[in-house]
């Protein structure tokens, strides 16, 4: 038994190819990026060791901070939107729908698996103004709200709004299904007991459901944050970061710096910053939820 399960040749055959590929394509490039962030320019052309000066440059770079703040606003709105609407939808699944539960769940989940480019094309056509009105402007026209008809994707504020709506829309089903899975596990007696003790709906929600759902909500936060912090595809496909830099995220800033302006060193610096952001966010959410555990 031990001999068969400890067969060194078989282990090597099973583990070495995937491990080599993984280390070569994922792990080494991470270290490589960190090293690159200490250089300036482009390898092969002019690539000089500059120490930490890319990092000080980043701290003083106005365009970096523009992307950073846009990204932070996006994270705040989209992450809370995804989880709040997901929670709401999960409550609807649990308390308001009796028949066709599976059908509704299937429909609501569908946008999750759609390619982000297709979704972005769909939204850009929905909010189109020329050559003919898209769905939204056409509906506004028919409702007589002509003063609201506008080039939604041509103005910074509304383009950002459309982007947020789009990314919340695609993810609601995902969070609804996860949270619903946890809601189902709450025993009915717990809720009934609270009702007998005279709890109203809000108290029930605040004192019973939220504490019991906390572990799954923490997971949702980590998932949502790791998606929104590195957002790239949806805005690239919807607006290419525009108009101006109104919807340009950090990842897009990093991409432009590296591949449009060929500043590999500086691009790597921004990439390292994004990596740190993701790791810090994960640890923070974990810590906060651990701390909250005691005092609800």
């Amino acid at each position: 038994m031990e001999k068969v399960l400890g067969d060194k040749k078989a282990i090597a055959l099973f583990i070495v190819p995937p491990l080599l590929l993984f280390i070569g394509v994922v792990f080494i490039p991470i270290i490589w990026s960190i090293v690159y962030s200490l250089y300036s320019g482009m390898p092969g052309v002019k690539f000089d060791f500059v120490g930490l000066s890319n990092y000080t440059k980043m701290m003083q770079d106005k365009t970096f901070w523009q992307a950073f703040w846009m990204n932070m606003r996006y994270v705040g709105i989209v992450t809370s939107g995804q989880i709040l609407f997901g929670l709401l939808m999960a409550m609807i699944f649990q308390f308001a729908i009796k028949k066709y539960k599976v059908f509704v769940r299937t429909i609501v989940f569908f946008p999750v698996v759609l390619p982000s480019v297709a979704v972005a094309q769909l939204f850009s056509k929905m909010f189109e103004i020329t050559p003919s009105y898209g769905l939204i402007n056409a509906l506004l026209e028919v409702m007589g709200l002509t003063e609201l008809i506008q080039p939604w994707l041509g103005q910074g504020g509304t383009a950002f709004g459309v982007l947020c709506i789009m990314d919340i829309w695609t993810a609601i089903g995902f969070y609804a299904v996860i949270i619903y899975g946890a809601l189902v596990d709450i025993p009915g007696e717990v809720i009934e007991a609270a009702q007998i003790d005279g709890a109203n709906s809000f108290q029930l929600f605040r004192r019973i459901l939220i504490p019991l759902l906390k572990p799954i909500l923490t997971t949702c936060f980590i998932f949502s944050l790791s998606g929104t912090l590195k957002m790239f595809e949806s805005a690239t496909a919807l607006t290419k970061g525009g108009p101006g830099v109104a919807t340009r995220s950090l990842s897009m800033f990093m991409y432009n710096t590296s591949f449009t302006y060929s500043e590999y060193g500086y691009g790597s610096t921004v990439a390292v910053f994004i990596l740190i952001e993701c790791l810090v966010a994960t640890c923070l959410v974990g810590l906060i939820s651990k701390k909250l555990k005691g005092d609800v």
């Binding site: 067969d7 099973f14 569908f110 028919v142 007998i196």
Partner: protein
Amino acid sequence: MEEIVRQQKIKIAHKRKIQSKTLPFIGKLGIALILLIEIYPIIWIILSSFKSTQEFNMTPSYSLPTAIHLENYVTAWKAGKMNIFFTNSAINTLVSLIFILAFSTMASFALTKMKWKGRDLVLKIFLSGIMIPTVIVLIPLFTVYKNVGLLNTRTALIISYVAFGLSLSIYLLSTYLKYIPDDLIEAAVIDGANIYQVFLEIILPLLKTGIVTVLVIQFFFKWNDLMFSMTFVSKTELKTIQTGLLYFSDMYGNRNWGAIFASIGISVMPTLLLYGCLNKMVIEGMTSGAVKG
């Protein structure tokens, strides 16, 4: 005391009765609205893809098509080169899935059932990949691919797809493997099976659900990829469906809405089909990373 509880119970029952009378109407309306918001945009795209150019100019965009104009699909498929992009994505996805499946089943078997030193460390290395943002590897990979002449090849995309598909697949398969009892392996070994027979004849058939889940999830990730394909491939003949779709809408812009809608329709067709047949498994698979983690 008992009397109070009894009265409370009656009160609650009464309250529920009222709720269950008012809820159905508002509830149904709300649910219908939610369904409409979630699903109508997709229906709109499909309906619009059948409209003629004239219809786009003459009628409001929410109106139904008067006839089914399939020429949009012909334009998108042929003149819009969607046939090339579709084939590229199909090849890249298929080849990647085969490698992801082979590598992740072998690795997760060795990581959960076999006994060796350093097992936990290797598992940790693989799992740490789940949290890593893709942008961090782009520049180094681009540089390497450029130096070895792999830019503008399918190989570059497939290598990246496979490597980035491993973490989640190994994680999922390991959780499935934990449910397979060791006694089965022991019995097979006593009967004289070697390790390869155990893997191929005992483990793989039992892992069927896990394998299908991994295939389905990874299909969506690879089919939907934009970042790798826009970085490593710039030749039109090698573009994938997502970069192709972007390229396509840049080319046609606002001039040919019908063809754009048709191209979106083509890009989501495999998704629709797969989701239509396997939606229960897709939902469980996509959320299993969050639920089990």
